[in-house]
C-alpha cells in the first residue's frame, strides 16, 4: 500500500485566510449550530449577515425554495422558504428571561419570515417544520401549480423539476382550481441556444439575476403584471452571451430549455459522470450525461475554486466531436515507400501488442538526438509525464502546441488548451510553449531528426509541413480524429477522448483535477496513458504499475509541483498545486 504524506507543495487553497469570523449560535428545529455572523455575498464577496437558510443548511436542514440560489443575490419572491422563528425574550431589565428549568425563554414571532433573506441573530430558534410552515408551503405550491400547464410528459425538466419534487412533499392529489388557466407564449426562441416556455415559468427570476449579476448582461426581464408576468429578452435583442445555458441549469422548472438537449433524452436515463471541460485552461468541473456510450450533455458541477456553478456555452456544447463518425478506431501501420518490404501496402490488421513492440524496437535503435516529440496540451498530466520520461530516455526534442483565442472576464480563458500548465510542469513543453516547434521543423529539414512522435495534434498546422513529414523515416501519430498528420503516419495509434478514460489536468491556476470515464472507447481505441506506459516499459525494460492511480502517484513523486498529491486525495474537486 502506498502511504504518502501531504507535503506543503500542494495543499487545499492556501490563500491567506481572513480572521476567524464571529460565530452566532442558533437552533434549527431544536438542533444547535454555530454559524458565522456574516457570509460573503456570492457575487461581490462583501460580507452579508448570514441568513436563516444558510444556518439551516449548516444544520443539514434543507428549507424548500425556488428563487433562492446560493450563488445568486437573494430575491425573496417565491415565498416557498417561509419559516417560523423565535428570539430570546427580553425582560424589563433588558436581559434574556430565563425559564424555571434554566433554559432561555423564547418569544415566538407572530409572523413567518422568508429564510432566504432573514438574518440570524444570537439565540434565534428557527422552526422549519411546524404545521403552520407546512401549510404555508402547501399554499405557495398550490399557487404555483394553478396556472402551470402540467405538461410533465413532454417536459425536459421532468425528473429534475423542483415543482414535481415539492409536489410530492406538499402537493394535493386533487386540484381545487376550477378557473381557466392563464395562457402565455410557448416555444419562445430567446436566443440561439435557448427556448422558453413562459407558461412553465414560475417567475423566480433566477435566470434574470444570473444573467444580470453573474454574466454581466442585463438581457432578461419580466414584462406585464401580476399573474400575466412574462419572462422575455430585451426587446429586439437575442439572449446571446457565452453563458446563456447556465440559466437552463438553474431554472427550477422546465421553462428554459437548451435547444441542443431539448427532447433528446429523458434525464432519468442519463448516467452521470464527474468530468472536466476540455475547451479551455479554466477547467470547469462538469457532469457528463451519457446513455449507452453516447454523450447527451455537459452540465457544470460546483467547484468554488474553479467555476462556481457555471460553465460557458462554448465549452458546454463542445462535445459532439466525441461521437463523430470518422473517429480513429483502429491501429494502423503504413510501411514507408521505398524503405519497407511491402511498399505502400498496409499490413493486415496490426495488433496493439505487435505495433507497440515494433515501435519500441525502432525507438530503442534510434540514434540519440534523432527523435522529436510534438505533444498536446490537451493530453492529461499522466500522459504528458510519461511522454516526458520517454523523451528523456530517448534524448528527444519536445514541445507542445499553444492554442490561443479570445477569453472573457468570467470563465473562458484565452488559453484554449485544458492542460497547458501540465505540459509546462511535466517538462514536455518548451518555454514559451511552441518555441521548439521551429527547431523540430528545422531538424527534420536538415535530416538530423528522423523520427517524429505526434500526439493529438496536426503537425502540419504548426509549422511542420507535409513535405517535412514525408521526409521522416518514422512518423508515429496518436490521435482521436483524422488529420493531415495521421494520414501520413507510419504507425497510427487511436486514442481516447477524455470522456472515454480517466486522468487529470492542471488548470491555468494550478488546480490539479481528475476526470472519470463516462463512455467506452470506440473500436481499438485505448487510453493514451495505457499505451504510453507500455511503450515506456518496453523501452526502459522496467516494470511499472499499469493503473491510472499508479501512474498518477508515481508522477506526483517525480514532478516537484505535484509532490504530495495522490489520486485518492484529489477528491472530486481537485487540489491546487504550487505552480
Amino acid at each position: 500500500m502506498l502511504t504518502e504524506t501531504m507535503s506543503t507543495a500542494a495543499t487545499i487553497e492556501t490563500k491567506p485566510q481572513p480572521p476567524p469570523a464571529e460565530k452566532i449560535k442558533v437552533k434549527v428545529d431544536g438542533k444547535e449550530v454555530a454559524v458565522p455572523k456574516t457570509t460573503p455575498d456570492p457575487v461581490t464577496g462583501k460580507p452579508l449577515p448570514t441568513s436563516m437558510i444558510q444556518a439551516c443548511a449548516a444544520a443539514n436542514v434543507i428549507v424548500p425554495h425556488y428563487c433562492y440560489h446560493p450563488k445568486l443575490p437573494v430575491a425573496g419572491s417565491c415565498r416557498m422558504c417561509l419559516v417560523e422563528f423565535g428570539t430570546p425574550a427580553i425582560g424589563p431589565d433588558r436581559k434574556p428571561i430565563v425559564n424555571p428549568d434554566g433554559t432561555t425563554k423564547i418569544s415566538r414571532a407572530l409572523r413567518p419570515v422568508i429564510a432566504c433573506a432573514t438574518p440570524v441573530s444570537p439565540g434565534m430558534e428557527i422552526y422549519t417544520n411546524t404545521p403552520a410552515v407546512r401549510l404555508m408551503r402547501e399554499g405557495v405550491l398550490e399557487f404555483l401549480l394553478i396556472n402551470h400547464p402540467l405538461d410533465c410528459p413532454i417536459c425536459d425538466q421532468a425528473g429534475e423539476c423542483k415543482l414535481q419534487e415539492y409536489s410530492v412533499d406538499y402537493g394535493n392529489s386533487e386540484s381545487r382550481f376550477v378557473e381557466a388557466k392563464v395562457h402565455k407564449p410557448k416555444r419562445v426562441e430567446l436566443g440561439p441556444r435557448i427556448v422558453l416556455d413562459d407558461e412553465r415559468c414560475i417567475l423566480c427570476s433566477r435566470c434574470i439575476r444570473f444573467t444580470r449579476d453573474v454574466a454581466g448582461d442585463d438581457a432578461l426581464g419580466f414584462v406585464n403584471r401580476g399573474s400575466h408576468s412574462t419572462l422575455t429578452a430585451y426587446p429586439g435583442r437575442a439572449f446571446d452571451n457565452n453563458y446563456t445555458l447556465n440559466t437552463v441549469d438553474i431554472c427550477p422548472v422546465g421553462a428554459l430549455t437548451s435547444k441542443d438537449f431539448r427532447f433528446r433524452m429523458r434525464v432519468w436515463f442519463l448516467k452521470e459522470t464527474r468530468s472536466l471541460c476540455t475547451s479551455c485552461a479554466t477547467g470547469c468541473n462538469i457532469v457528463i450525461g451519457s446513455r449507452e456510450d453516447a454523450i447527451y450533455r455537459y452540465e457544470p458541477r460546483e467547484n468554488d475554486a474553479v467555476n462556481s456553478c457555471w460553465m460557458c456555452d462554448h465549452g458546454r456544447l463542445n462535445y459532439k466531436w466525441i461521437g463523430r463518425e470518422d473517429r480513429l478506431v483502429e491501429v494502423r501501420k503504413r510501411e514507408a515507400e521505398g524503405r519497407g518490404q511491402a511498399s505502400g501496402s498496409r499490413s493486415a490488421a496490426p495488433t496493439w501488442s505487435a505495433v507497440l513492440g515494433e515501435i519500441s524496437q525502432k525507438l530503442k535503435a534510434a540514434e540519440p538526438g534523432s527523435i522529436a516529440i510534438v505533444a498536446s496540451a490537451r493530453q492529461t498530466n499522466e500522459e504528458l509525464h510519461l511522454l516526458a520520461k520517454l523523451a528523456k530516455r530517448l534524448g528527444a526534442l519536445t514541445d507542445s502546441v499553444p492554442r490561443i483565442a479570445a477569453g472573457d472576464k468570467l470563465l473562458l480563458n484565452a488559453d484554449r488548451n485544458p492542460n497547458s500548465t501540465g505540459a509546462r510542469l511535466t517538462g514536455i513543453a518548451a518555454d514559451p510553449m511552441g518555441s521548439n516547434l521551429p527547431a523540430i521543423a528545422g531538424g527534420i529539414r536538415s535530416g538530423r531528426i528522423k523520427t517524429l512522435i505526434v500526439f493529438g495534434e496536426d503537425a502540419t498546422k504548426c509549422g511542420i509541413d507535409a513535405d517535412l513529414l514525408d521526409k521522416l523515416e518514422l512518423l508515429i501519430a496518436s490521435d482521436i480524429l483524422p488529420n493531415a498528420t495521421t494520414r501520413r503516419a507510419h504507425y497510427l495509434l487511436p486514442g481516447c477522448a477524455h470522456a472515454e478514460k480517466r486522468g487529470t489536468f492542471t488548470n491555468t491556476k494550478g488546480r490539479v483535477q481528475k476526470f472519470l470515464k463516462a463512455v467506452e472507447p470506440r473500436g481499438d481505441a485505448r487510453p493514451e496513458w495505457e499505451y504510453l506506459h507500455e511503450l515506456l516499459v518496453n523501452v526502459t525494460s522496467r516494470d511499472g504499475i499499469a493503473s491510472i492511480e499508479g501512474v498518477f502517484n508515481e508522477m506526483a513523486k517525480e514532478v516537484p509541483a505535484f509532490s504530495g498529491l495522490t489520486w485518492a486525495t484529489l477528491g472530486d474537486t481537485g487540489i491546487s498545486a504550487k505552480i
Binding site: P112, A117, V140, F143, R176, V182, I202, S227
Partner: protein, 468 residues
C-alpha cells in the same frame, strides 16, 4: 355638533384662492418655512444643544403625527429611524401616488394648494438634512404634475428652493417624477424602485428598509402628501399645540374622502377621532345621509383594501385605561370614532382615510368582484401568493357574478384568501387583496352562498331540450 376642522384645507375651495405663489404668500405662505430655517440652536435642560433641524424633528415627535398614507405609522418615529451616520446623503420622497380606490384627498392639495405641500416638504427636508427630494406623482394626475412643476419654479424664483434657501446656507432641490399608472408604485419601496428606473417591485425588508437602504441605497424618508402638509402646521403651531387637536395617540386633523351611497360624497377634514363614522355618513356637514329610502348595508373605512364593516356590527373596544384598568366598552359601528386605533381595534383600518358607504342596493358579490378585479390587475406579480391568489380570487368572483357560481364558492374564496396575508408576501399588497375577500365573504357569507346556490339550481334544471 360635529364639524369639519379645516386646517390643511383651510383655504382650498375658498372663492378667489388660487394655486399660485402670490396667493399662497398672501395667506401667510412660507412663514412656517421661514420660522423653521431660522430656528436658533437651543440649549436643553440637560445642557445639550439641539440644532434647528433637531428641534423640528422633536416637535414632529411631540405632535404625535401619524402617517396619512395608509399605515398610520408615527411620523416622528419614522424620521428617528433614518440612518444619519452612514455618510450617505439622505433623500426624501413625497408620495403623491394616491391610488387606493376611494381616496381623493391628496389630489385636492396638489391641485388647489400645491405650495402648502411644498412648504411642508421643504421643512421636512430641512429637518432631516435632505438636499435632494422627489415628488412621485401618479401618472393620471397630468394636470397636477404641471401645477406642481409651476409651483416648484415659483418657489425656486423666490429662493424657497434651490441654493442657499433664504440665506440660510441650506440647499435643496426637488424633482417631480410621474408614475405610469400602477397602484403598486404607491408602496414605498415599489415607488423607490420605480424612481430608480425599474419595475415597481417592492423590496424585501430586511434588508431594504427605506430609512437605511432606500433610494439609490441611501437613507430615505417616504411621506404622504397630507403628512407633509401636517409637518408645516406642526412647525407653525408647535408639536404640543398640534397634539391638542384630535384625540390622544390619534392627533391632528385628517382629510376623509367619503364616497358611495351618500348624498354629499366629498372630502372633509376632521379632527382625528372627534367625529364618528355615523356622523361622517349622516351629518349634514359631512355625507348628509343615505339616499332617500335606503338603509345602510356596509362601509369600508379606509380605502378598498380595508376590511369591510357590516351595518349594525358591534365592537368591544378597550377604553383608554387611565385608571390602569382596561375598561371594555361595546360600540356600535356608527358610534365608532373615525381615528386610527379604534378602527384597528374594530378589526379594520382607517388606511388612506377613504370611507366607502354602501346602502342596501349593493350586491356584495358584485362589489367584491369589482374590488378583486382591481387588485388582480394591480398585483406587481413578484411574489407567488399575491400574484396567483389575486387573479384566482378575481376569476372565481367573475364566475360567481356571471352565472357560473357554486354554493361552495364562499369557502373556496376564503381558502384562497387565507393563504395570502400575514407575512406571506413581500409587501402589504398581499393584505390589501386578501382582506376585502376575507371580510366580504366572512361577513356576508349567506349572500355568497345564495348566489352560488342559485346558479347551481339553474344549471340543475334540465334546459328545455329539443329532443324531449
Amino acid at each position: 355638533m360635529p364639524q369639519e376642522h379645516r386646517q390643511i384645507l383651510k383655504y382650498v375651495d375658498q372663492p378667489g384662492y388660487t394655486p399660485d405663489i402670490e396667493c399662497y404668500l398672501r395667506h401667510s405662505g412660507y412663514e412656517a418655512l421661514k420660522k423653521a430655517i431660522t430656528l436658533p440652536p437651543k440649549t436643553q435642560a440637560d445642557g445639550k444643544t439641539t440644532t434647528g433641524p433637531e428641534q423640528i424633528r422633536q416637535e414632529v415627535m411631540i405632535s404625535g403625527l401619524r402617517g396619512r398614507g395608509g399605515a398610520g405609522f408615527p411620523c416622528g418615529l419614522k424620521w428617528s429611524f433614518v440612518d444619519r451616520k452612514s455618510g450617505k446623503p439622505i433623500h426624501l420622497i413625497c408620495n403623491a401616488d394616491e391610488s387606493e380606490p376611494g381616496t381623493f384627498k391628496d389630489k385636492q392639495i396638489i391641485y388647489k394648494d400645491p405650495h402648502q405641500m411644498l412648504e411642508g416638504m421643504i421643512i421636512a427636508c430641512y429637518a432631516n438634512d435632505a438636499h435632494l427630494a422627489y415628488i412621485y406623482i401618479r401618472g393620471e394626475f397630468v394636470e397636477g404634475a404641471k401645477i406642481l412643476a409651476r409651483a416648484l419654479r415659483e418657489a425656486r424664483a423666490k429662493n424657497f428652493l434651490g441654493r442657499n434657501i433664504l440665506g440660510s446656507g441650506y440647499d435643496l432641490e426637488i424633482h417631480i417624477h410621474r408614475g405610469a399608472g400602477a397602484y403598486i408604485c404607491g408602496e414605498e419601496t415599489g415607488l423607490i424602485e420605480s424612481l430608480e428606473g425599474r419595475r415597481a417591485y417592492p423590496r424585501i425588508k430586511p434588508p431594504y428598509f427605506p430609512a437605511v437602504l432606500g433610494l439609490y441605497l441611501c437613507p430615505t424618508i417616504v411621506n404622504n402628501v397630507e403628512t407633509l402638509c401636517a409637518v408645516k402646521h406642526i412647525t407653525a403651531m408647535g408639536g404640543a399645540e398640534y397634539a391638542k387637536l384630535g384625540t390622544p395617540n390619534n392627533t391632528g386633523t385628517r382629510i376623509v374622502s367619503i364616497s358611495g351611497h351618500v348624498k354629499r360624497p366629498g372630502y372633509y377634514e376632521i379632527e382625528v377621532g372627534k367625529v364618528t363614522i355615523g356622523e361622517l355618513i349622516h351629518d349634514p356637514c359631512f355625507g348628509g345621509g343615505l339616499r332617500d329610502g335606503r338603509k345602510l348595508k356596509a362601509i369600508i373605512p379606509g380605502g378598498s383594501s380595508a376590511k369591510i364593516f357590516k351595518a349594525g356590527e358591534k365592537f368591544k373596544l378597550k377604553g383608554n385605561s387611565l385608571l390602569g384598568r382596561e375598561a371594555e366598552k361595546e360600540v356600535e359601528l356608527l358610534d365608532l370614532p373615525y381615528d386610527f386605533d379604534s378602527i384597528i381595534e374594530a378589526g379594520s383600518m382607517s388606511g388612506s382615510g377613504a370611507l366607502i358607504v354602501m346602502d342596501d342596493s349593493t350586491d356584495m358579490v358584485e362589489a367584491l368582484s369589482n374590488i378583486a378585479e382591481f387588485y388582480a390587475h394591480e398585483s406587481c406579480g413578484q411574489c407567488t401568493p399575491c400574484r396567483e391568489g389575486s387573479l384566482w380570487m378575481a376569476k372565481a368572483l367573475h364566475r360567481l357574478t356571471h352565472g357560473g357560481g357554486r354554493s361552495t364558492d364562499a369557502d373556496y374564496l376564503l381558502r384562497i384568501a387565507d393563504n395570502i396575508p400575514g407575512g406571506r408576501t413581500i409587501c402589504a399588497f398581499g393584505e390589501a387583496c386578501a382582506w376585502p375577500v376575507q371580510s366580504f365573504v366572512g361577513k356576508f357569507k349567506d349572500e355568497f352562498i345564495a348566489k352560488g346556490a342559485a346558479d347551481e339550481e339553474r344549471r340543475m334544471k334540465p334546459a328545455a331540450s329539443p329532443q324531449c
